[in-house]
Amino acid sequence: MIGELGQLSLCFALALALVMAVSGLMGAQAAGSIARKVATSSAMGLLVFVALAFGVLTYAFVVSDFSVLLVADHSHTLKPLVYKISGVWGNHEGSMLLWVLVLSLYAAMVAGLQRGGARLTSAALGVQGLLAAAFLLFILLTSNPFLRLDPAPFEGGGLNPLLQDPGLAMHPPMLYAGYVGLSAAFSYAAAALLVGEAGWTRAARPFMLIAWIALTCGIALGSWWAYYVLGWGGFWGWDPVENASLMPWLIATALLHSALATEKSGAFSTWTLLLAIAGFSLSLIGTFLVRSGVLTSVHTFASDPTRGFFIMVLIALAIGGALALFAWRAPSLQGGAAFAPVSRESALLLNNVFLVASCACVFVGTLYPLVLDALDGTKISVGPPYYALTFAPIFFALLLLVPFGPRLGWKRGDLKAAWRSLYPALGVAAVAALVVLAIVSPRGLAATGAFAVAGWLIGASLIDVRKRQGARASAFAAALAHAGLGITLMGVAGTTAWRSEALTVLAPGQTMTVGPYTLRFDGVTREKGPNYVADRAHIALMNDDRAQTMLLPEHRFYPAEGQDMNDTAIRTTGLRDLYLALGDDRGGGRYALRAYVSPLAPLIWLGGLVMALGGFLSLWGRLRVKEPEAQPAAPAVALAAE
């Protein structure tokens, strides 16, 4: 019965999405004030029904209603409650429902906040309605989460143990909030093209910020999860699935910067529209890559070709439609005011060139193997060395230029003054490089350079914060986000350059050393978890022949799913991680043990957090200031305010 309620809600939601699409687009005309009201209410209704459907599915998972096929396939009575809930999106159908839920949430926010002109908002709702309808249709036709199973089994199939993890329980909702948040920017861009309203960037900015924050957190969570679950001590593997989330982030970052220029002086107005379209297109492509079964990974749930085909058609329609609209309407938008070669606009342009170029590297590296395989069946893979050669130098060059941007004035900037104000940062960079050269071994050019650039970024941000006391939140936000980049860079450089690794087979009582640590292996015990059995290694961290702390890496077996996984033990000082993973049983109580010492590893994710905080600060500054309703963002006014 409860399953049919979910099914019915989805049908209602589809109807409301269609109403919203039609009325929203009708409301884009000047005379459509009634249609605008209809669009707003149907956006709210859409959210209610999608949330109801999602709630029903969650309930089915929580009470283990195995008469629902999806629950029977992916849940288990013995699973802890939190993983019963996260199991809702730990499969193809549920994750698509989550996708639509987030889409509806953004539609409701667009309708509720009513940012920008009434016609613009209405058109944006119309586009959002089209997207919602397309995805609801996709769910109902190819991925219905409420299919029944008769007779209902007594026990479910369980959830992939790799996914039974607190980090990964939160990872998909976070990433989806980012992916789908770009849909709001996309809808506003399409609406701006339809209505011809140039001020759309101001209206869409909070959504871009939310999407960017969520993407930043989502990527950081995913990388953290890979670090402590996969057991090889790495934080980023240039896996296609990781790339699929990195590409929208790069474009969203470019979009945030370019939209700033468009808002302030009308510069790059068409380029910003194109970025908004590209950002969401990459989100869609990412979804296709991850969910269609083209790639094989822990993320791939579906291997049903009709689904892949449906998503492909959906992507083609969305991207093709938006680009056609762009080609048709963009030439009629008026261009921005002229700016000097040395100016904030030029700096933002350079930022965009580098970000888009680095995204292009990732794009080609991700898709080239797929295209080659489809063409003639040649199977190749593109690994980290490719990205070290292409992505890394481009992104590095971008980081070098970052501190100049906020120091150049709009329209015309003073490069000499910017240089002068950056002297202290240059000093910080020099000190950082010297410290690395002087006290740390092994010496490496890459690590020295990376620390110099990190010092440069963080130094410049500190100057910004000092100089601009009493300035608007946005200046602090930028400083914080840029400093976060520097922090992450230090973490990446530190772990890459100075990680030590030890790999030994130990019998109980034997010791091993890794970096500055001595470890004693005290044997393995058999433990029983709620839905798994584990071999738990007892490893003592030694301090002068005394056991200081016990570390307990585990090897778990999940009988319901028939799968194994590792649970690593990590002891962190905040600046250095000691990382242990239990390897295979070598007989006679002997086990293989892998240990890493990763200096500065926690900074990788701390930097991500700082970047996200910068985003939050900017968002807070935006929402706190009441929108100047009657006063469009005229370039002259914006300039005077600066």
Binding site: V364, G365, I380, G383, L389, I394, Q563, D584
Partner: protein, 147 residues
């Protein structure tokens, strides 16, 4: 040409140059760093030169896994037609089993042994890397539905 047109032209030229540079970097990077997937039969047919990194996929031959000193592991990868000996120094993934599919990254050495620097984990018992399925199909050892 008006100054505005001139500026636009310079701008377009600069963007074009940047685009060309990025394209050059990408093509160069791909040329240097793509790794081919090879089955044991491909290796036996001398499609792989010594010292070139590639990915080897197939089944871990039954009874072939031997542990050496420390974390040294020796095993053989087969696709039913040809078999390649492999050496690995490291922790094997949790689901590394005899008779199961495996994908490893590494190079051939002078003795004709595959020296792996990474052995990839499978995610569950049912999962078979698609490349391995393809390789088995090509060697005629794949039965649909059999596990």
């Amino acid at each position: 040409m008006t100054p505005k047109k001139k500026r636009r032209l310079a701008f377009a030229a600069a963007l074009l140059a940047a685009g060309a540079a990025v394209a050059g970097v990408i093509v160069y990077g791909l040329g240097q760093n793509t790794m081919y997937f090879r089955s044991p039969s491909d290796v036996a047919a001398k499609q792989v030169s010594e010292g070139v990194a590639f990915r080897l996929g197939g089944l871990v031959e039954k009874g072939s896994v031997q542990h050496g000193a420390d974390a040294q592991v020796h095993f053989r990868v087969t696709d039913g037609k040809s078999t390649i000996p492999a050496d690995f120094n490291g922790v094997l993934p949790a689901l590394f089993r005899e008779g199961q599919g495996v994908v490893a990254t590494g190079r051939m050495d002078a003795r004709g042994t595959f020296v792996a620097n990474e052995v990839l984990a499978k995610h569950d018992e049912k999962y078979m890397p698609p490349e391995v399925v393809d390789a088995l199909k090509r060697s005629g050892r794949w039965q649909e539905g059999a596990k």
